[in-house]
């Protein structure tokens, strides 16, 4: 079983960014966009997200499965929910466009605009988050979180986890083959849901217990090398470039401006007059 991360090594402006700058941008974007309900502002954030995504130059064939998931979640779950219940908001007047046949549910102008805003908000966040996984080298996660202030032990554990991924995927594949050789039929698990879950134990238990037993050797090897006695050094060093500093500054400015706009009372739900007139 070949397990690979979705990272695509390319020379684009987003790929060249320091991972710390990308994480800071993601957090600032998340806390900025969630302060607003105004469709106009949410569309601006959606434009920023699409611009960021375009700069990463990700091929659609690599990201289409993620796009399907994002669009399904944003449109079907969030969009339809907010279309009819509008996030629990009560509007003084509601402009009914028409009623759904059979269910007699009213479709209102407020619902349509609110739903469009929430779809834009969800897609914006998802697009920025998606870009990180395709543009950040997994080898840099550990050192990036260390430099962001995570203690050495936890940052090293991230690094170590990434190294264990291919080994454990291979162990799972071997276990599956071994159980099949003993007559275990994963394709035909019989019984009710509970019985079927119990029958997955022959796959999960050997892999987990095998990994734990093997982990004792890693513990001993690290202890013999005096792990944790002094401050760690890292193979990969991260240095901010002027672009990274610019992205971090702009991210913080975006968050500060969004908070200021919100505190001044702007950014609440907005209904275009032409929609209300329909």
């Amino acid at each position: 079983m070949l397990v690979t991360f979705k990272y695509l090594a390319k020379d684009t402006p987003i790929q060249r960014l320091d991972p710390r700058a990308k994480f800071i941008f993601l957090l600032c974007f998340l806390f900025s966009v969630t302060q607003f309900w105004d469709l106009r502002l949410l569309l601006i954030f959606f434009g920023i997200a699409m611009g960021y995504y375009a700069l990463a130059q990700l091929p659609f064939r690599e990201t289409r499965r993620a796009w399907f998931f994002m669009v399904f979640f944003a449109v079907v779950l969030v969009g339809i929910n907010t279309l009819f219940v509008r996030g629990g908001r009560r509007f003084e007047t509601e402009h009914i466009l028409f009623r759904l046949p059979l269910l007699s549910l009213p479709l209102t102008a407020e619902g349509v605009v609110f739903s469009a805003g929430m779809i834009a908000r969800m897609l914006s966040i998802a697009i920025i988050a998606l870009t990180i996984s395709f543009t950040t080298n997994p080898q840099l996660y550990g050192v990036a979180f260390r430099r962001l202030g995570l203690p050495d032990h936890f940052a090293f554990a991230i690094d170590l986890a990434l190294r264990f991924v291919p080994t454990l995927a291979r162990d799972f594949s071997l276990t599956l083959d071994a159980q099949r050789a003993r007559g275990y039929e994963v394709e035909r698990l019989r019984g009710g849901p509970i019985a079927q879950i119990r029958k997955l134990a022959p796959l999960i238990v050997p892999v987990t217990i095998g990994a734990i037993v093997g982990g004792e050797d890693v513990v001993n090897a690290l202890d013999l090398r005096c792990f944790g006695v002094t401050k760690r050094t890292w193979l990969h060093e991260l240095r901010y470039t002027c672009w990274d500093k610019a992205v971090i500054t702009l991210s913080l400015a975006m968050l500060a401006a969004s908070t200021a706009v919100n505190l001044l009372g702007y950014g609440d739900f907005w209904l275009p007059t032409w929609v209300a007139a329909l």
Binding site: N81, G87, M118, A161, I212
Partner: protein
């Protein structure tokens, strides 16, 4: 068995954090994405037992890390990006499962109880965050997010946890660890 503080983070905890997170990430990817035939239709998230197990056996930090980083790894392998509030929710499952103190008390019922508490708190907080992010109502997040996530995690986690704990105790007893 060596008695350690519940909150200690030494070499052993670091290694089991890494193993737990890698296992959770890989198995989440396999079960959710490749969809093992026959298991996919009912066993929605069997790997959820891993943060519960690692939390119960190795402590709250290992459980938290296994759930949080493992969920991120699973999403990275699938190319889904970061859904930080669900990652934190998964971390909390393992964090609260640790309060059963299984490595000292060896009480399976207590382990199940704390695992259930962890699932309700973890999935509850992750679901509630959807109100903030996607503007959904409390009623909507309970029906659309909390109930499906918590119910499948409770069924999968509570069935598989005692099996894994029993297997671990057999190995730990044999090796004296």
């Amino acid at each position: 068995m060596e008695r350690r503080s519940l909150w200690a983070v030494g070499t052993r905890e670091v290694v089991y954090m890494a193993i737990g997170a890698a296992l959770y990430g890989v198995l989440s990817w396999i079960f959710n994405f490749l969809q093992i035939p026959g298991a996919a239709n009912v066993a929605v998230r069997p790997p959820v037992v891993l943060p519960l197990f690692f939390g119960a056996v190795f402590g709250p930090w290992v459980g938290l890390f296994t759930g949080l980083v493992g969920n991120i790894l699973g999403d990275l392998l699938s190319g889904y990006g970061f859904w930080i509030w669900w990652d934190i929710g998964n971390g909390l499952l393992g964090f609260f499962a640790a309060f059963a103190l299984f490595s000292t008390k060896r009480n399976y019922a207590l382990a199940e109880l704390w695992a259930a508490i962890g699932i309700v708190i973890g999935m509850g907080l992750a679901s509630l965050s959807e109100m903030w992010v996607s503007g959904a109502t409390m009623q909507a997040v309970i029906i659309e997010n909390f109930v499906p996530a918590a119910a499948t995690d409770l069924v999968n986690g509570l069935i598989l946890l005692p099996i894994l704990l029993a297997a671990y105790m057999a190995v730990a007893g044999r090796t004296g660890r």
